[in-house]
């Protein structure tokens, strides 16, 4: 399998990358999603802009009550980060469920979000954790809530000429509990259903799904059913029953719409029980 010919550039900075970015260009980060698409000739960019080595896109830091993860940070780096383990343990545990070790070594958080595979793991976690995505264009940066970022199949709020630079996640208050549960497709190991739950000390709960629909989404139906409630088995059962309602459901060889919805309920219940 051989890609179409293209030009390649490896800018040193985000500014330089933005200068190069036009209609015909694609951003290359880890490449473990893009390069297979290029090989299959599903994608035919005239130019690849390799941002994997731009220093400002790397690293994880705590800043003004937020954990800031550079878009170019790999799954493996997130999995092993002490800062993440301390504040956002779900991200370290969830990272270990992405792809395989080789994919985790190259794949990046920003790349995964920008690619917006409807079955990717990160989106559910980033949405449930109230993350924000920092998008930078030639005219400056803007912030988009993760819950608003994913708009469809492989489709995001990224405008032409923008690059994801950072993902900002509020440092959870003491006592916050979070969990990600995944039912993996047996061939690709992508999520058929992935459910992420963050329970704050004030009792509020955020629930997000991936794999279920054409885009990852926050499930306000479940959240409302939990509002002001103790997480007893009955409450969890009743709330989980509302999972993935009112969304168009995906179906494939491994899970029809009906089964997917059932799995969404089961995995929602399991994630809720884990934070109860």
């Amino acid at each position: 399998m051989i890609p179409y010919a293209f030009d390649y550039a490896r800018p040193e900075s985000v500014e330089e990358a933005l200068d190069l970015l036009d209609d015909d260009a694609k951003i290359l980060a880890g490449g473990h999603s893009l390069v297979p698409a290029l090989k299959l000739r599903l994608s035919a960019p005239g130019k690849l802009i390799d941002i994997a080595r731009i220093p400002s896109l790397k690293g994880i830091r705590e800043e003004n009550g937020e954990i800031v993860i550079g878009a170019g940070t790999t799954h493996d780096e997130i999995m092993k980060s002490d800062l993440i383990k301390q504040h956002l343990p779900m991200f370290a545990e969830g990272a270990a469920l992405i792809g395989d070790p080789m994919v985790r070594h190259k794949g990046t958080l920003g790349g995964s979000l920008a690619h917006a595979d409807p079955s990717a793991d990160w989106p559910a976690m980033v949405i449930a954790a109230d993350g924000e995505v920092v998008l930078r264009g030639k005219n400056g940066s803007r912030l988009v809530a993760a819950a608003d970022f994913f708009i469809g199949f492989y489709s995001t709020a990224l405008e032409e000429g923008e690059i994801i630079t950072e993902i900002r996640l509020p440092v959870p208050a003491e006592g916050t509990r979070m969990n990600y549960q995944k039912f993996a497709q047996p061939a690709s190991r992508f999520a058929i259903v992935g459910c992420s739950v963050v329970r704050h000390p004030d009792g509020s709960v955020r629930v997000a799904f991936t794999g279920v629909s054409d885009a990852p989404f926050r499930d306000t139906g479940v959240e409302e059913a939990l509002s002001g409630q103790q997480l007893t088995d009955d409450v969890i059962e009743a709330a989980a029953a509302k999972a993935a309602q009112g969304v168009s459901l995906n179906s494939d060889h491994f899970a029809t719409e009906e089964y997917r919805q059932h799995l969404a309920r089961v995995y929602c219940k399991r994630a809720l029980k884990a934070v109860a």
Binding site: R41, P186, A187, H253, F254, Y259, H262
Partner: protein, 801 residues
């Protein structure tokens, strides 16, 4: 030093090159001036090729030549043949429509991926780029995918000269009237309608070929990732290209797995060979994984209705089966043999069933060819029997172990007791079926398990145990028998044992090795029989110029047939060696005994070593009068019968009550494959077979949509067993030697794949019953959704899911 090698787990001699990256697979080979081929393939399962325009592609830089089906047809090349002929019940010859190398204009493509043109270019990239510029005017035609639907009135016709899409119909067993009567008189009849789904073999090395015509020597060389170089040469020379066989060398270098899919003579092999003469340069073609999914012969794909009749005491009285076997669009090399001689003849299983009848329809569809995949026919037969008997046990509320045991053929060694004559043509060589079953159950700790199961059930988990017993026919096969059954070739094997003057030994075998470890196992046999060190032995295979002939590696035949040929040559070496030794020791050959690498005069300490005799044979100064010099013998071994390994497999599964997800917790296999030369290698063969059989039960299926598109043609959608899908296997062996070959071996390559599939399915059904879900059957693969749906069904009646 000890020369007792047989039965030892000798570490593999071939490993070092593989673990250091020095293996040499076909795609690793680069010849000077080499070009690269890329094919233009049909996106449709059935379409007429109205026209092909190659002009834009021809103008691309780097393109050397483009050939279309019209070029091939005008060269007089019709296509690749099949290797077996099966006749219709009425005696008519089966339908064997041509399988062209490239489909010509005006004709029709018959499955996705069917090629219409080939681009040959200076680089892989140029060939690939140019292949996109070939414009084909396709006229899409209706397609048919299911073997059952293909036989229905009004179904699209794959070949105009095969009406009703029937390649042939066929039957075996007792007269149908007798079987019908026995079914009618049965106290209980268990009926199962099921699909034995289509699988993709998925050797991890995609196929690769290099065709190289050398003008100076007027000789062709084909490097090919094949399981049988000689068979490819024979078919290609005699039936496809009409080129002289002595001017063709076929090399099978390291081959990255076959599992049946690399037995066949594929069109691309002939194409690169032919085309390299047209362009006078070597041509390499390496398949992509996408192509492998579309093009490599698939396995299984049977739709069956099976009925098993029992008397009031649970004794099997009759078995009646109707099967539709999907052969795909073209008849691949072994295709006609698989549902017939490798399936119908195995329906006796381990049971004393007195009346058996199989009726078979072998059907063309707009899918890629279906041919032998690990086990080939025997997994289908075993699945059918072991699902039926397990279901019967549930329906009659009998213990599945007892039900099997009471119907088992009693033990026989094939020496003191005669072989067992089945109702379906075969005569089993030797067997001890109670032995393997009893041991497997003992390893499980059955009573303990039942207690655990009840306990787990109370804790909200469903645990199930499933068992299967199997027999297979391998060591393929006596030529006279397969000839009578329609094989167009013999199924013997050749071996040459060439003793060099220094006593080193070169062995040339027709059995190609692509993972089975022949280089080690065969060297063990030779070292043991000659009493010399293994490092003094070289095993040569995979080169048609070096090896006299070979019928190839499949059907677990290498050791039983190829190994026996080696033993025959060794016997000849020792017989001649004894004459030389006797001359040197001034005694009669009858006074000599051979052991530990030397001939000794019985009762004395006078001896001569193997090395000295070898030297004498090549420097025959002091030498028996009239005896030819040299010590080099060839043999062809044609077995007296198939060999019949058997065993008992037990699976323990846990089913998630909420999701239906199946987790394989334990897998026990007790196999009897006859004598074992290298236990470590046999273990490995069993392990690999188990993984593939378990893969069929739980994960794998090639899914064509109704238009004939393969909708899961990549590893993203076709689920292969991975390390975390499987447990450590608990395996043991018993030994009932094969009575009719000199090594007493039976064959181990397919056993794991044959026994494991029904064991897993039976275990899942058992788990569901333990939870009150009286499910009759679940279609393979047992995806989580299928199991979940089965659990949603009624809890009180036995249901088909």
């Amino acid at each position: 030093m000890s020369t007792n090698y047989i039965g030892q787990s000798v570490k593999r001699l071939e490993d070092k090159r593989f673990i250091t990256g020095k293996g040499r697979y076909t795609d690793d080979i680069k010849l000077p001036g080499m070009t690269y081929a890329s094919f233009v393939r049909s996106p449709y399962a059935h379409a007429r090729v109205n026209s092909i325009d190659t002009s834009a592609a021809k103008d691309m830089p780097g393109v050397v030549a483009i050939f279309t089906g019209d070029d091939i047809a005008s060269a007089g090349i019709v296509g690749v043949p099949t290797g077996w002929q099966v006749n219709f019940k009425n005696g008519d010859t089966m339908k064997e429509p041509p399988h062209p190398l490239l489909v010509p204009t005006g004709s029709t493509v018959k499955h996705i991926g069917d090629p219409v043109a080939v681009i040959i270019a200076d680089s892989r990239e140029a060939a690939f780029d140019a292949s996109e510029l070939v414009e084909v005017d396709w006229e899409e035609l209706p397609a048919v995918v299911s073997a059952l639907k293909a036989t229905e009135e009004g179904a699209p016709q794959v070949h105009p000269d095969a009406p009703g899409n029937l390649a042939f119909d066929w039957e075996i067993g007792n007269p149908i009237d007798e079987v019908n009567e026995a079914i009618e008189q049965s106290a209980h009849v268990t009926t199962l309608e099921f699909v034995n789904q289509r699988l993709v073999p998925n050797a991890i090395e995609p196929r690769a070929y290099i065709g190289h015509y050398d003008e100076v020597s007027d000789k062709y060389t084909l490097y090919t990732s094949t399981q049988n170089p000689h068979l490819i040469r024979l078919l290609m020379c005699a039936f496809v290209l009409g080129i002289p066989e002595h001017k063709v060398r076929v090399l099978g270098p390291d081959v990255g797995g076959g599992f049946g899919s690399k037995i066949y003579h594929y069109t691309e092999e002939a194409l690169v060979t032919w085309a390299s003469k047209q362009i006078r340069r070597p041509i390499k073609w390496t398949e992509t994984r996408s192509e492998a999914f579309m093009l490599d012969a698939h396995g299984r794909d049977h739709i069956s209705k099976a009925e098993m009749g029992f008397d009031a005491d649970g004794n099997i009285k009759a078995l009646r089966i109707k099967t539709y076997a999907n052969l795909g669009a073209y008849l691949s090399t072994f295709a006609p043999a698989v549902p017939t001689y490798l399936h119908g003849t195995l329906l006796q299983g381990l049971y004393t069933t007195p009346k058996i009848h199989l009726e078979l329809s072998a059907v063309f569809t707009n899918t890629v060819a279906v041919d032998a995949y690990r086990g080939a026919g025997r997994p289908e037969a075993t699945y059918l029997l072991e699902r039926l008997i397990d279901l019967a046990a549930l329906e009659m509320d009998r213990d599945p172990i007892q039900l099997r045991k009471q119907n088992f053929i009693p033990s026989f060694d094939g020496v003191e007791q005669p072989g067992y004559q089945t109702q379906v043509a075969l005569q089993y060589d030797s067997g001890n079926y109670h032995g393997v079953l009893d041991r497997a159950v003992e390893m499980l700790g059955y009573e303990e398990f039942r207690r655990l199961q009840q306990e787990s059930s109370r804790n909200g988990k469903l645990i199930g145990v499933g068992l299967s017993t199997y027999i297979e026919a391998c060591g393929i096969a006596p030529s006279a028998v397969v000839g009578a059954l329609g094989a167009r070739a013999g199924l013997y094997e050749s071996a040459q044992v060439r003793v060099q003057p220094t006593g080193k030994v070169s062995v040339y075998t027709g059995s190609h090795s692509h993972g089975q470890g022949h280089v080690t196992t065969f060297a063990q046999v030779v070292a043991d029989k000659l009493g010399i060190a293994m490092e003094d032995i070289d095993i040569i295979h995979g080169d048609s110029d070096a090896v006299a002939f070979g019928m190839g590696t499949y059907g677990s035949r290498s050791l039983a047939v190829g190994g026996s040929a080696i033993v025959k040559s060794i016997e000849k070496v020792l017989e001649k060696g004894a004459k030389i030794a006797a001359h040197k020791l001034e005694c009669s050959a009858d006074d000599l005994e051979y052991a530990e690498g030397k001939w000794t005069v019985k009762g004395t300490d006078k001896s001569i070593s193997f090395g000295d005799v070898a030297l004498t044979a090549y420097v025959p100064h002091v030498y028996p009068q009239g005896l030819e010099p040299g010590l080099d013998f060839s043999s062809f071994y044609d077995p007296a019968n198939f060999t019949y390994p058997f065993g008992c497999h037990i699976a323990v599964v846990e089913v998630d009550k909420e999701t239906g997800k199946v987790k394989l917790k334990r897998f026990i296999a007790v196999d009897d494959v006859g004598n074992v030369i290298n236990p470590m290698i046999v273990d490995g063969q069993i392990h690999g077979g188990l993984a593939q059989g378990i893969g069929q039960a739980l994960l794998e299926e090639a899914i064509y949509d109704e238009n004939g598109q393969l909708t899961n043609g990549s590893y993203m959608d076709y689920a292969m067993p991975r390390a975390d899908d499987l447990p450590m296997f608990e395996i043991e062996r018993q030994v009932t030697p094969c009575p009719h070959n000199p090594l007493g071996v039976k064959g181990a390559g397919e056993a794991g794949c044959i026994g494991s599939t029904p064991a897993v399915v039976n275990a899942v059904i058992n788990a569901l019953w333990s939870g009150g879900h009286k499910v009759k059957d679940i279609r393979m693969p047992l995806t989580s959704e299928r199991v979940w749906r089965a659990m949603q069904s009624s809890n009180s009646t036995i249901t088909q899911s």
